[in-house]
Symmetry: C2
Subunit: 147 residues, 2 copies
C-alpha cells in the first residue's frame, strides 16, 4: 500500500541523516582535516593498490561526476593523502597512489567502519538486507545506471 512514499524523498532523507551521523562520529573527528567521503576513497585506494586506479574509476565506484572527483582529489593531494602519477601508456591518465599518511589513517579507520556498519544493520535481517540492496540496484537500473 506504499503509504504515499516517494523513493527519491526517502533516499534523500536517509542520505542526509547518514552524512550527518558520519560527520559527528569519532572517525570524522579523529581525522580533523578530512571529511566524510575522503575516508571512503582512501579505503578504496588502499584496498586496490595493485590495480592502477585512476580518477575515472573513482567516478564510477562512487557514482560521482568527474568534476567532483577532480576537486576532491586535488584537495586530498594538497593535504598529503595521495599522489597523482602520470601513466606512461596513456598521458590522459593519472594513477592515484595513497601515501603513508593515508595508509595509517586507513588502518585506524577500518575497525570503526565495521562497527558503524554493524550499528546501521541492527534489527535488520539478512534477507531484508539482500532485498534492500537488490532494490537499490533496480532503482539504479531504472534511472539508467550512468546518467
Amino acid at each position: 500500500m506504499q503509504e504515499n512514499h516517494y523513493i527519491g524523498l526517502e533516499i534523500s532523507r536517509v542520505s542526509n541523516l547518514l552524512r550527518r551521523n558520519f560527520g559527528q562520529s569519532d572517525m570524522h573527528r579523529e581525522m580533523t582535516e578530512t571529511t566524510g567521503k575522503y575516508g571512503w576513497i582512501i579505503g578504496y585506494l588502499v584496498e586496490h593498490q595493485d590495480e592502477a586506479v585512476c580518477q575515472k574509476d573513482i567516478e564510477s565506484v562512487f557514482s560521482i561526476r568527474r568534476s567532483t572527483v577532480s576537486n576532491m582529489l586535488k584537495l586530498m593531494e594538497k593535504k598529503g593523502y595521495i599522489e597523482r602519477i602520470s601513466v606512461d601508456s596513456d598521458a590522459r591518465l593519472k594513477r592515484l597512489v595513497p601515501t603513508q599518511k593515508a595508509l595509517e589513517m586507513h588502518r585506524r579507520m577500518v575497525e570503526k567502519l565495521r562497527q558503524r556498519e554493524q550499528m546501521l544493520r541492527q534489527d535488520i535481517s539478512e534477507e531484508e538486507l539482500n532485498t534492500f540492496f537488490a532494490v537499490l540496484q533496480k532503482i539504479r537500473h531504472n534511472i539508467g545506471e550512468e546518467t
Copy 2:
C-alpha cells in the same frame, strides 16, 4: 552474504544518481528558476494548506537542518513561490503559504512526479518495496532518528 556492501556508500550513490536524474528531467527544465528540492517543498505546502506549516515542520519532513530550510525558503520567497507570515499566537513562528505561482507549478508537476515514481519502481514488486521502505525506516532508527 551481503557482497561487501556498505549501506552508507550505496545510499549515497543512489542519492547522487536520483538528484542528477531529477535535475535533467522535464520537470526541472520546465521550472527553470527552481531546482530539485523546491518542488518537493512546494508540493508539501500545497497539500497541507489547512495546517499552518512552519519552517520547523519542513525540517522534520525532509530531514534537513534549520539553516538549510532557512536558506532555501529565503530564496523561494524571493522568487515568489511562498510567503512567510508571522503567527499571532507565537512570534517565533512563521507560517509558510504557497503563492498562486506555486499552486500553478504544483498543478503542472503532479502528474510528472507520479510518472517518475512509476518509472523508478519498474520491476520492483510490492513486497520488495515494502521491505525497502521498512529497512530505510530501521536505518533511520538505528542512526537515532533526529541527530
